[in-house]
Symmetry: C2
Subunit: 171 residues, 2 copies
Amino acid sequence: MDIEKVNSMDFGEFVDVFGNVVEKCPLIAAAVWSQRPFLDLEDLQKHFFAFIDALPQSGQEGILRCHPDLAGRDLQQGTLTAESQREHRGLTSLGADELLRLAELNAQYRARFGFPFILAARLSDRAAVPRELARRLLCPPAQELRTALGEVKKISGLRLADLLCANPAKL
Amino acid sequence: MDIEKVNSMDFGEFVDVFGNVVEKCPLIAAAVWSQRPFLDLEDLQKHFFAFIDALPQSGQEGILRCHPDLAGRDLQQGTLTAESQREHRGLTSLGADELLRLAELNAQYRARFGFPFILAARLSDRAAVPRELARRLLCPPAQELRTALGEVKKISGLRLADLLCANPAKL
């Protein structure tokens, strides 16, 4: 899909296509439509990120809370969004012990920060996930909020690049 | 459900219960959770409305764009959210002529304002809908944005009152 096609979309089409660029937050895509026309993928991405950055802290935390636990209940129950399911591919072969360990760490993380642990899993290998979770669990809350929003942006950038069939390495 | 029960919810439960208070915008409920504890239903509602009011204009337009057309495609195809389906009850018996007229007016409205026509249908009778749509189609865009957000708040207030089993007339 090229950028002319994107710029020709009415808001209904745009939200249908880009509504889950930020997980379960079609409001953000629907807001970004106000900024059309877009120059290119990078420009489109810039508007998604600018909207996230301009939200009050509660809204940024709200974005994080719309994400599933990594390798958590939604993966087990098959209730992940299509995008998230693809991103979980590397985590489907975890053993019961690893899943239990992750569930414990996810619960500690949620209790400490008030949002779920988010990691751009496609950019990480399976073994690194519990290690990274344990590391970030010890970070100060304000720093961890910034880190988590950075992961949301990495995930959104990859999803946008997928939709426009671009090479994400170029971003 | 009483307010103590609401205040005891973790963010996952809270988003499960209140995620569609604003149509297809779980981000807003997820953000409002940051403001707990809530004094009562009125206080909870106040935080939903404050979040909406604090958004940039593109975000407010984004909320509106997450709503379905009134008596439109989602009603015909059975793809309304559960809450919206209940609110559409009074509109299910519209005749083909009335549906066609509404579809034309909805399309004109979307083209003029860049968001769909929104009306708290439970507070309106069936005959009033096309009349009100035709009237609002002529309003200046800035005024119509305010009117539409006012309707979103009426709908959200009714949904919150339903969830807390309160009498919406008291709000």
